[in-house]
Structures are given as structure tokens and as C-alpha cells.
């Protein structure tokens, strides 16, 4: 029976297990097909043999995915739960807003945007509350950043299993174009005082989730955002406003942001003591592990694909919380040799980059691997190297090299013991 800690620390694994074992695997005609259960849809009109033979459907108020595309997150149905991005179904770098991962500690609150305010107080010259309308009158910035939950991949790190998908391994990371106001502008408006070194950020959910954020991050690139991929934030991502700390563990980017208090020390909230700290093998516990280490994952071909001989694009995503991805290497022989993959978009700091390498499969058993290096020179380590550095007692902030084993029958399975 899984222990409490397993449940909390390895949400991805626990949930993913339910998907793989609870639902019969879907037939997968192409690598774009999702592994997740198909959403409920109205019955289909029969598809004509020749789409040019008759007029098609009329215009509609809201766009919909093609009925032939089935993508879904993996909700747990728990109010302190999560729901994972189906990376195996996505291409490019932007996560569609309805597929952005969710992780909440007390459900998605219903907030009246017209009444919601962001209060900034503490070591400030002027205690001010900003409405959404106020926030929208500041000069805006639009930037693309990933958010990755501190627990992403915890289950796959702790207990890698052959039947794991990218959704289960890395689905607590998503990448979005955000629009909002730099924190610097708000702190200028309230007159942040020189002595302030830490800021408490509080959400307006039933957990009143709080995290302590160093002032230096707030003055560097922190944003208060209200828009996601060109439209208002989705409720699960913080509607009407959230804190966005580029490159930092997701839990700190407080959703439904309602209050910022400027002070002189961290508050030692439950989310930065009991949770999201890493007990190490030397008997210490690392705290405030904000920056996300560089990571990559191949998203095609993956479990449960079955590939045929010939050429295949090996495709995946990479990111680093410390800046740009400098390169992604791919190995098609279990790590004996590596070569630089092509990057399909120009890397920007703290955002997904899509990599690809063409590969001809000749029918031999092998393991496909990807390894990211960021602009600080940090190289994504193997699982063994991570355990060597940290011990086996923590699965937060894990970023091991992930592998995909290809059998002689073409069946692809997860190879986590790198």
C-alpha cells in the first residue's frame, strides 16, 4: 500500500497508474493521438468519403478540436489534487490553455473579478489595493515562460515503471505566453522600502496558500499576470490574477493572488517547510529550492507507441529555470554516443524549447535518451547521478535523464533507470 508520502510526493506516478491500469489502452493510430480517456462529445455526423462532395459545417461561436483528436488531462477528482498535461499529444512549445496542468491545494476558487483586489502592505510607503482594472493600466509585458510543479516527475523518479507516458512523467510542467505587469512597477507605486528583503504572497483560495519570496526575485523578473495565451487566465491557472515567478518551482507562483506583504524574513509557511523541501543524504533538508534545474523529455516516440522500421522524428521539449537551453543532445544507443538535436524554436530564457532528431530504426533493441544543457553549463544528470548527489529520500525537484526503450517488436516503453 502506498504511504502518505508516496501519495503526496509522487502525484504524477499515482495518478498515472490509474490511467494506465484503470482504463484500457486506446488504440493509437498516430503519434498525435492521446493516451488519455476521450472527452465526451455529441454523436458525430457520418464522415463523407469525399469532403469536397458537400458543404461542411457552418461557423461556430467557439472553436473545437477535431473529433478525431482526443486529448485530455488526468484529473484526480480530489480538491487537493492535480491534473497533468498530455505532452505526448502536443507539438511546438505552447501548452493549450485547457491542457495546462493543474495542482491545487484546496480546489479552484470562484472569484468575482470585479471585486478582486491585490493588497500590497508591510514595508511600503503607501498601502494600496489594486483592482484588475488598475493592474491593466500599468505598462504591460508579454513573455513566454514555463511553470513546473516542484513535484513533477516525482513518481517516475522514485519508482520508474515501463508503462509510463510523458504525461505521467512530466505532465506537471506547461509553457504559456503570459501577459501582465512587472512587479517592479507595482512596488514602485506602493513605495517599497529599502529594508524589505522577503515578500509573503497569498492566494485567495480555501488554502489561502502562502509562500515567502525573496525581494530580489520580485525586483528581477516577477510578474503579476492576468492573461494566458491571449485571453484571461483560466480559473485553474489563477483567474483573475496570479503571481508568475519565471523559472521557479510552480508552487511559489501563487494563483488567485490577493495579498503581498513586504517584510524582513521568510514566513516559514507549510509549503516551504513540511512540503517542497528536500531531505538530503547528509541529514540536512534543502529549503527554498526555487530555481528549476535544466530538464528535457522525449515526447515521441514514447509508451505506448509501437514503431515500424524506417525514419522517425525523435521529438521532445527542454527547459531550464536558470535561463536559456544551450543544447539538447539525443542518444539513440542508450548513451554510448550523443549528438546535438535540432532546436525548432530560438531558445528564450525559462521557456520550453522543442528539439528534434531524425532517426532510422533498423529493428534492433535500443534506448533513446535526451539530455539538456542550459546556458550556465548545467547538464541534465542521470537518475543515478541525482541519487548520488541527493540520496533517495526526496523526489521533489527531480530532473533525471529519461529514456525510452525500443523493443525488437517496435514497442516503446519507459526506461527511467538512467
Amino acid at each position: 500500500m502506498p504511504t502518505r508520502r508516496d501519495m503526496l510526493a509522487s502525484t504524477a506516478g499515482a495518478l498515472g497508474g490509474a490511467v494506465v491500469f484503470g482504463v484500457p489502452p486506446l488504440p493509437r493510430p498516430d503519434p498525435q493521438g492521446a493516451q488519455a480517456p476521450p472527452p465526451v462529445r455529441p454523436p458525430l455526423a457520418p464522415m463523407p468519403d469525399d469532403p469536397t462532395s458537400a458543404p461542411g459545417a457552418p461557423t461556430s461561436a467557439l472553436g473545437e478540436r477535431s473529433h478525431q483528436v482526443s486529448v485530455a488531462r488526468t484529473p484526480t477528482g480530489l480538491i487537493a489534487g492535480s491534473s497533468l498535461t498530455p505532452h505526448q499529444s502536443l507539438t511546438g512549445t505552447i501548452t493549450p490553455s485547457d491542457l495546462h496542468f493543474e495542482r491545487h491545494h484546496a480546489g479552484v476558487p470562484a472569484i468575482d473579478a470585479a471585486k478582486h483586489e491585490l493588497l500590497i502592505h508591510g514595508l511600503v510607503d503607501r498601502t494600496l489595493a489594486f483592482s484588475l482594472a488598475d493592474l491593466k493600466r500599468f505598462p504591460r509585458v508579454t513573455r513566454t515562460y514555463f511553470i513546473e510543479c516542484s513535484g513533477n516527475g516525482g513518481g517516475a523518479f522514485r519508482r520508474p515503471r515501463a508503462e509510463m507516458t510523458p504525461q505521467q512523467i512530466a505532465g506537471l510542467a506547461s509553457n504559456t505566453e503570459w501577459t501582465g505587469v512587472p512587479m517592479r512597477a507595482l512596488f514602485n507605486e506602493v513605495g517599497a522600502q529599502r529594508g524589505a528583503s522577503w515578500v509573503l504572497a497569498e492566494g485567495s483560495d480555501a488554502a489561502e496558500l502562502t509562500r515567502s519570496i525573496p525581494m530580489s526575485k520580485m525586483l528581477d523578473d516577477a510578474l503579476v499576470v492576468w492573461a494566458q495565451n491571449g485571453e484571461p487566465l483560466r480559473p485553474a491557472q489563477g483567474y483573475p490574477i496570479r503571481l508568475l515567478l519565471p523559472g521557479w518551482e510552480g508552487n511559489a507562483s501563487i494563483k488567485w493572488l490577493r495579498r503581498l506583504e513586504l517584510g524582513t524574513r521568510p514566513w516559514m509557511t507549510r509549503e516551504e517547510t513540511s512540503k517542497y523541501t528536500d531531505p538530503l543524504k547528509d541529514g540536512t533538508a534543502r529549503q527554498f529550492s526555487f530555481e528549476v534545474d535544466a530538464k528535457s523529455i522525449i515526447t515521441a516516440p514514447v509508451f505506448p507507441d509501437r514503431i515500424t522500421r524506417g525514419w522517425h522524428p525523435i521529438s521532445g521539449v527542454a527547459w531550464s529555470g536558470r535561463g536559456r537551453i544551450a543544447r539538447v543532445e539525443v542518444s539513440t544507443n542508450g548513451g554510448e554516443t550523443w549528438s546535438n538535436a535540432a532546436l525548432l524554436n530560438a531558445p528564450t530564457p525559462k521557456a520550453f524549447v522543442r528539439f528534434e532528431q531524425m532517426w532510422e530504426w533498423k529493428g534492433d533493441e535500443t534506448v533513446l535518451l535526451s539530455r539538456a544543457t542550459d546556458e550556465t553549463g548545467y547538464v541534465q544528470p542521470t537518475r543515478a547521478a541525482l541519487i548520488e548527489a541527493r540520496g533517495i529520500g526526496t523526489s521533489y525537484h527531480s530532473n533525471p535523464i529519461y529514456g525510452w526503450k525500443v523493443g525488437t517488436d517496435g514497442a516503446v516503453t519507459f526506461h527511467g533507470e538512467t
Binding site: 503607501r126 517592479r184 488554502a207 531531505p279 550556465t376 547538464v379 547521478a385 548527489a389
Partner: protein, 190 residues
């Protein structure tokens, strides 16, 4: 003398990756001035020095009664936890001495054997528990529950009572094990 603000200083020295924003005037005059009494309504956080702890007092025995009525249904009669509801109480000998990092066994981290600050119990229970009716506990109830959870975890005596002063004085067994992040990027894996 008017203090120079950090944000102003940052703008002057062009701190931050993109420097100052030429579109941003010094101040825009936006936002609503909020009086202190209004701030006090939402400013209910309690930090590790307990400076913000409210008046009130509660005993371990009172905490046991409140716990049985409002918490046990999820966390178990003795705080043993019932998945997915976390375990709150427990100091198994194999976990003592902060063995979590070296152990493959997946040792349970509890308030007693892991949490570095007692004030966190007060702050978290007051803001987030009970999960379905958060914000309904009175301050004396939160003191009592904090006392009950700390005593059940063998941090304070079973006949203890907590108020602001005594809660401030509680030192958790493994507080000194917590260290700041030392990862800095570059070649080393930490």
C-alpha cells in the same frame, strides 16, 4: 526624510534583466489607499518568530476535544492519517535523527520528526483547516490544536498550554537541519 524605495533604486541603477521601463512613469497614482484596520482583517500570517501571534490560549486537553470533533474524520483518531489525508502524528524510531534523505523506505515526515517551526502549525491550521470549512476555528481553538499536535508528537508535555509567548518559545527538534538552497547552476549536480 523620505526613504528612497527599493523599486526606485532599482529603476535608477537599471537593475533587472530588462532595466527600467521607459514607458513607466515614476508613479501612476493607481490603487486604493487601504486603512490599517482593513489590512488587519486579512493580515493573519504568523512567521517563525511568532511576532504576529494573536491573544488567546489553549491546552492540550482542549485541543484533543476539538481534534476529535473537527479533524479526526480525515486525519484519523490519533493523527495517523488516512490516504489521501496526511498523517499528523508519529515519531517512528527509524525516522528519528532525520534519516529521511538516506532512507529508501519512504519514511513518513510528521510535525514531530520533520517540521522546523511550531508557528507553522498555528499558521497553517488557522488558514487552511478543517479542509472543508477553513477559517472557522477561533484563535483559542487553534492554540489548543497546536498544543495537542505538538504534544502528540512529543515536542511539548501532555499537560502543556500554549499562548503567544509559550508558542514562540517552542523549538522544534530538527529545526537546525534545514539549510538554504545551494544549487547555483553550472557543471555541478547538487
Amino acid at each position: 526624510m523620505r526613504r528612497m524605495t527599493i523599486a526606485t533604486a532599482a529603476l535608477l541603477v537599471g537593475c533587472g534583466p530588462s532595466g527600467s521601463d521607459p514607458r513607466s512613469p515614476q508613479r501612476m497614482g493607481l490603487g486604493r489607499e487601504v486603512p490599517a484596520h482593513e489590512v488587519a482583517l486579512v493580515n493573519r500570517d504568523v512567521g517563525p518568530d511568532g511576532a504576529e501571534l494573536p491573544p488567546g490560549r489553549g491546552t492540550v486537553a482542549e485541543g484533543a476535544t476539538v481534534y476529535a470533533a473537527k479533524c479526526a474524520s480525515c486525519h484519523g483518531a490519533n493523527g495517523e492519517g488516512m490516504a489521501p489525508f496526511p498523517k499528523l502524528v508519529g515519531r517512528p524510531p527509524e525516522a528519528e535523527g532525520f534519516k529521511f534523505g538516506a532512507s529508501e523506505a519512504g519514511l513518513d515526515r510528521t510535525i514531530g520528526n520533520y517540521w522546523p517551526y511550531a508557528t507553522t502549525v498555528f499558521d497553517y491550521v488557522r488558514r487552511a483547516m478543517p479542509q472543508l470549512t477553513p477559517g472557522t476555528l477561533t484563535d483559542p481553538e487553534v492554540y489548543a490544536l497546536t498544543a495537542f499536535l505538538l504534544a502528540s508528537n512529543q515536542v511539548i508535555p501532555m499537560d502543556a498550554a500554549l499562548d503567544a509567548e509559550s508558542l514562540r518559545a517552542v523549538k522544534m527538534p530538527y529545526q537546525d537541519r534545514f539549510v538554504p538552497d545551494n544549487r547555483r547552476g553550472g557543471r555541478e549536480v547538487k
